[in-house]
Amino acid sequence: MLVVALGEENTEKVNAETVTGDQILSFDNLIFGVPTWFDGELPNYWDEFVPELEDMTLKGKRIAVFGNGDQKNYPENFADGIGIMADLLENRGARIVGFTSAKGYDFESSKALRGDEFAGLALDFENQPRQNKERIGKWAEQLKKEFV
């Protein structure tokens, strides 16, 4: 859905489970899909990539992060994965783009929050699936402007 909204000709899909640092460095604009697992953790494929990421220089990269969370069953850690990844990327010099408003969500806390915005796009396939299309569409338009 996101690729379609951005335009397939403008995007290249990379499998996060096998991605390498070199692949990431070959792009200037990137979008990371980072779902939140358990009580606020990265999925293994990202977690195991983190040591490599920690050695990378991402200066000049514009990176957007999106991910699925569950407001109802995991309200204390809603979409934490977005925030954890955004922090890691920022620490390596990347500029995080694609911030979105936290209005319209109902949760207790989230590492993705920066003020009253998420450091990316939070999706909730469990509880707000009908809003996905609109949220993704708007975010894609936003990214088109924020990416160089």
Partner: protein
């Protein structure tokens, strides 16, 4: 994954290769036994209880690595196989415990399988009553602090066990007393089949304690070796620096069922069963070692083959190891008591000034505290300014011995007893007096720890003796009603592993208390509070008087009827007999049992042999009271000497009413005893 505020000492890139290899060996050793355990049950060899560790290995490895047997104490729980392997238990030690063999270092196959321990190294043998060792952890940490010992206590448990009130008591106490404990909560999301949403509102139960002072909470990924190592390392350093407790909550997955009696496929769907397997900590660690080129596939396979051979050899040793000897069941029920050389029968001929029971107890405690600097007393309301307990039994003790040895406890009876148990673990020379509750009536919340503590010596095969005297102000006759009149020896004497004494006179109170304070093991010291200041219970008390356990005292010799009694009713029996003998030409023997457990059966049977008639009198209810055991013993071992029915006088099978008219109707008294004497003599 990084943990906020936690220093990152361990990292896949920088940790030395030998350390990484050591971790992998431990993980594979642990996983090998975890995988093999069910086979022993299938082949009917043993390991009939197995709570798999699979999915918890990150945090369990870290617990074991953080533990230093020279300085620390570790309380693992029944899922902590890898914790114990990581702490240093060998494959042989694991299998001996798993299949309950005599060489099992936890306790020679006495305790349930999968309860790994090594008391010699301060890896404690804990109960199956989940999380109740949290109280012991707080207790041993208190001792560490008092003795200025530099070390930490690590208390490991599942997240569901935190629902237990005693875990709250332990964390509250550790926070209040600033104790060096790391409470590790291994969170796999389930208590058997119960999801954690049914336990408490916070998904992360550690966050229930965010309002506690002097407490740090660290969350980590218990499925990740590095995050867990960093969290535990940070926790230990922080505890040592701050002398305050930490909670480490580790998110884990439970790859298998709770145990081999659980079927998780009945409540977990295929999706969940699949993803928990994908999040296997051992597999993740292996992938990281390869991905970051710290090891080659060949190197890892070599380690796996080495462990495979080691486990195979240990398995053979396990099968060949001796089973426990059934003749050993009476060994280590309770530690040997202090033996009195001067007063072997617990009798004296001192004719000095008479002292009240309350003075005798107070002075004996003070005398023993002066002799032994490793004595402690605590309880509710026992020491604040000039007050020394509700009855002033501990008056002046804090002033003389200081707040480090004589101190108040919170209104948490289980904590009082559980921390006494824990404190005993620090050094066998320590002797603790726990005023178990404000009144015996309030001891019931501590029954959980009472049962637990009664098991320790036997369960560990004599490796740990809780050396505690539990004092309880007991009984009625004060117009106290239902909750200030209970006498609970009928319940307490059903537990092997404890002694229960119940004096009637000041000298016996002093002598029994002195013996208790010098003995190893648990002694329940029941104090008939109605007699604290009663002139009839006052006696001369030699300064060094000792009464051995299991020695009854003949209060009055006789030949026509034996009365067996103790506590408050001893005095009623004496009065009733005096009245009866004034009128009739009979002589009645009164045996003051003093000690119920152990029971002086010889004294009882000797008296029955002499008189042929028996009256058993106690304050507790007749139905199922301790007298039932005495009666059964006589019926069993002295039936041929009986010349009449076994009669009992005691309380009615009701609570004790508050109104004095009700109390009189319910409790035994001189008149009721006199009537029974008449009936029996005339039988």
């Amino acid at each position: 994954m990084k943990n906020t505020g936690v220093r990152q000492k361990y990292h896949i890139r920088t940790t030395e290769k030998e350390t990484l290899a050591s971790f992998y060996r431990l993980l594979i050793r642990g996983r090998s036994w975890d995988d093999r355990a069910p086979n022993y049950l299938k082949q009917a060899i043993g390991w009939s209880y197995h709570a798999p560790a699979a999915g918890h290995e990150g945090i369990q490895l870290a617990i074991g690595q953080t533990f230093n047997k020279e300085t620390d104490h570790l309380f693992p729980y029944y899922r902590d196989l890898v914790t114990c392997v990581s702490a240093g238990l060998t494959s042989e030690e694991i299998v001996y415990n798993g299949i309950s063999k005599d060489p099992d270092v936890a306790g020679g196959g006495r305790h349930m399988s999968n309860h790994f321990a090594k008391p010699e190294w301060n890896i404690h043998n804990v109960s199956s009553s989940t999380g109740n060792h949290a109280l012991h952890a707080a207790g041993v940490a208190r001792a560490m602090k008092k003795y200025k010992h530099k070390g930490v206590v690590i208390c490991s448990q599942g997240e569901s066990s935190v629902s237990e009130g005693y875990v709250y008591e332990a964390i509250n106490g550790a926070s209040n007393e600033k104790l060096p404990v790391i409470f590790v909560i291994q969170d796999n999301g389930y208590g058997i089949s119960v999801p954690k949403k049914d336990q408490t509102a916070n998904r992360k139960v550690a966050n229930n304690f965010t309002g506690f002072k002097n407490l740090r909470i660290i969350h980590c990924n218990g499925k990740d070796v590095f995050d867990s190592m960093n969290a535990m390392t940070e926790a230990k350093e922080w505890v040592l620096e701050n002398s305050c407790p930490v909670i480490v909550q580790a998110n884990c997955v439970r790859i298998h069922s709770h145990s081999n009696s659980d079927r998780h496929e009945l409540y977990r769907d295929d999706y969940e069963l699949n993803y928990v397997t994908e999040y296997d900590p051992v597999a993740k660690y292996r992938r990281l070692l390869l991905r970051y080129s710290r090891f080659t596939e060949e190197e890892l396979v070599k380690i796996e083959e080495e462990i495979k051979a080691e486990v195979k050899a240990a398995h053979k040793k396990g099968l060949a190891a001796p089973d426990p000897n059934p003749d050993s069941i009476y060994d280590f029920v309770i530690a040997e008591p202090y033996q009195s050389e001067k007063y072997p029968e617990g009798i004296h001929d001192n004719d000095g000034p008479r002292k009240k029971m309350i003075e005798a107890i107070n002075e004996t405690m003070k005398a023993e505290f002066r002799i032994n600097p490793d004595t402690y007393i605590w309880g509710q309301d026992i020491a604040y300014k000039e007050k020394g307990g509700i009855f002033n039994v501990t008056k002046g003790m804090q002033k003389e011995f200081g707040i480090e040895r004589v101190f108040n406890a919170p209104i948490a009876e289980d904590y009082i007893l559980g921390t006494a148990n824990g404190m005993s673990r620090f050094d066998p020379k320590i002797r603790i007096v726990a005023e178990g509750a404000e009144f015996a009536d309030y001891f019931w919340p501590a029954m959980e720890q009472f049962v637990e503590t009664s098991h320790e010596y036997w369960r560990s095969k004599g490796q740990f003796s809780p050396n505690i005297t539990i004092r309880l102000a007991s009984g009625g006759y004060i117009g106290g009603g239902l909750y200030h009149s209970q006498t609970i020896e009928g319940s307490l004497t059903t537990f092997p592993g404890v002694r229960v004494v119940y004096p009637s006179f000041a000298d016996d109170a002093a002598g029994l208390l002195r013996t208790a304070l010098r003995s190893e093991g648990i002694t329940v010291f029941l104090e008939p509070k109605a007699l604290y200041n009663a002139p009839i219970a006052a006696t001369p008390v030699p300064d060094d008087f000792e009464v051995p356990f299991g020695k009854a005292r003949i209060r009055k010799e006789g030949k026509d009827l034996s009365i067996f009694t103790y506590g408050n009713t001893t005095h009623m029996c004496i009065e009733a007999v005096e009245q009866y003998e004034k009128e009739k030409e009979y002589s009645i023997e009164i045996i003051d049992l003093r000690s119920l457990l152990p029971l002086d059966k010889d004294a009882i049977i000797d008296s029955v042999r002499k008189t042929g008639k028996v009256l058993i009198v106690h304050e507790d209810k007749v139905f199922s009271g301790f007298g039932a055991e005495i009666a059964a013993t006589i019926a069993d071992e002295a039936f041929e000497f009986l010349d009449g029915p076994l009669r009992r006088v005691g309380a009615t099978f009701t609570p004790v009413g508050f109104n004095r008219i009700l109390e009189k109707a319910i409790l035994p008294n001189t008149g009721k005893i006199l009537e029974a004497i008449k009936q029996l003599i005339e039988y």
